[in-house]
Symmetry: C2
Subunit: 316 residues, 2 copies
């Protein structure tokens, strides 16, 4: 999903400071076609395969957006699958890029934009998580993201790649279907009612969380590709801006945008597994560095709802 | 070195709450013999080999002290060797222990004490590093330790092992010969003069750093083996107590213990590589959690010098 949004944004706005000749879309399923003012190549394959990573790296893209991942719920259920794809998979790709770097006598140093997550954090939390707060993940997914960040950082420090890890807020409202992420309901309670369907709310309305729209997330990705990484001063993982709000405030925003009838489609049905996982998630951030570096998100959850209504509802 | 000190401590004091039947020493070189009131088995092999990790795990030790590592200077010079041994090596061992856990239908859950390091931290630093400060390693060694911590934590969270990562201060005064660690001189400037030899000081005397004696470090290891890990509340990496002092204060402590003539054997000879690496190292900590959990170190650098004089100088 985020890959498609990022591709769309590249097609619409390009990248500051450099023209795009070609965009290569790679996914485990056939990537959606894209109309753009540059060549679009679509490749299907499993990025977690070492040979596939080598094949992709050999294309020597100037910028690599690494978005592939097993989502949090699935990585928690299937320990091997999560570590293989989110852990070893990242490592294989970095090794393959490094091999290209070395084969080029050091002239090839791709910008790697790694989609990390606020799941790298684990409670107890301060009221707002600052830029120097520890990573203490409480899910395998979070541990895999934190591990990948360490690799991105060390390969970058050695000059093999020029990487940056973007710790995405929960992306909300996600278009399309619910997925296995434990965070899926944050989008579901907005998206399903807007599409005239019932939505299950598995947690209390007092649960507070950190959100950004798919549009904002895609902008984080392209801004990370454009950024002068010298400004990162060796700390290549960044907490992104977002909106901190409770589930109750999310629902209220939905009511403001489309009225009470739609809101009635949300049904509260507690799920102990999700309650437990979400209770360990961050509630609020103070992303000073990212803001200073020009990353920007929405200013209200209502704006996030309107973004979905404008951008994704017509296609749903 | 730390393995020997830990073994010696186990032979002298055992482990609180449980008798020791057998101690298995494993090293890449033939482990030194040890006299103890229990069976001592010595094995030579390369822990980074997957098959060796499996062979060791099959012994189903109740407690595994994981001390093997490529030191910081070497891991920085040889990227592949560092990541292979400090990264993949830890992973292989954890996988092998997990296989034993699963083969036992979950009854085998070894305590794993992982020797991590303050190299997981990178500047800029606060005056004192607190327990919630981020890991932003500026060496491959630090990144490898931080990555291993994430694995130890996630395998523990899943109940496959019961792990704890001990972030050791620079261990000083190390007995024996200088090694390839960039921190080697911190010990060298004390050890060499005490043995009547000239010592090279590659940095300014104003450099401040964080130290604990080998004796204190071995106690950290055995205390970590004895600890009720429920008290860690899911945060299984701990900053250890130590002594914060400048190189000048180290030299002054040496002077206090053995007088001015010995101190004259220290020769200042700047090394830009070491100056650069060390400038990114922590200077001071506030290890509240570890102290609360009963970990204790020396109270002065003079005491650290006296520990060496008592324990290691006679054998040197």
């Amino acid at each position: 999903m985020l890959g498609q949004k990022t591709a769309l944004r590249l097609a619409e706005s390009g990248l500051a400071g450099s023209g795009i000749d070609e965009l290569i879309l790679h996914d485990i399923v056939d990537p959606a076609p894209l109309e753009a003012g540059f060549t679009v190549t679509r490749i299907t394959g499993n990025i977690a395969d070492e040979s596939e990573a080598k094949r992709l790296a050999a294309l020597r893209a100037d910028v690599v957006f690494l978005l592939a991942a097993i989502v949090s719920g699935e990585a928690e259920k299937d320990f091997d699958k999560g570590w293989t794809i989110n852990g070893h998979g990242t490592w294989h790709l970095l090794e393959a890029l490094r091999a290209q770097h070395e084969a080029s006598n050091g002239s090839y140093v791709p910008r790697v934009v790694f989609s990390s997550s606020i799941a790298v954090f684990g409670g107890p939390f301060p009221e707002k998580i600052g830029d120097e707060f520890l990573c203490a993940p409480q899910t395998s997914y979070g541990a895999q993201k934190a591990m990948s960040e360490l690799l991105v950082s060390d390969y970058s420090r050695k000059g093999m790649i020029d990487g940056i890890s973007i710790r995405l807020p929960t992306v909300c409202v996600r278009p399309g279907k619910a997925n296995l992420a434990a965070s899926s309901f944050f989008s579901g309670i907005i998206r399903e009612p807007l599409n005239g369907k019932e939505a299950i709310l598995p947690v209390e309305t007092t649960v507070r969380h950190w959100h950004a729209s798919p549009r904002a997330a895609a902008k984080f990705m392209t801004h990370a590709a454009e950024l002068d990484t010298a400004l990162l001063e060796g700390r290549r993982s960044l907490n992104m801006p977002g909106i901190s709000c409770t589930v109750g405030e999310q629902i209220e925003a939905l009511r403001q945008v489309v009225g009470n009838d739609v809101v009635k489609l949300i049904r509260h049905q507690p799920d102990e597994d999700i309650i437990r996982i979400v209770s360990n998630w961050p509630r609020n951030f103070d992303p000073v560095r990212a803001k200073r570096l020009g990353f920007a998100a929405e200013s209200s959850f209502e704006q996030i709802v309107r973004t979905y209504v404008e951008e994704d509802l017509p296609r749903a």
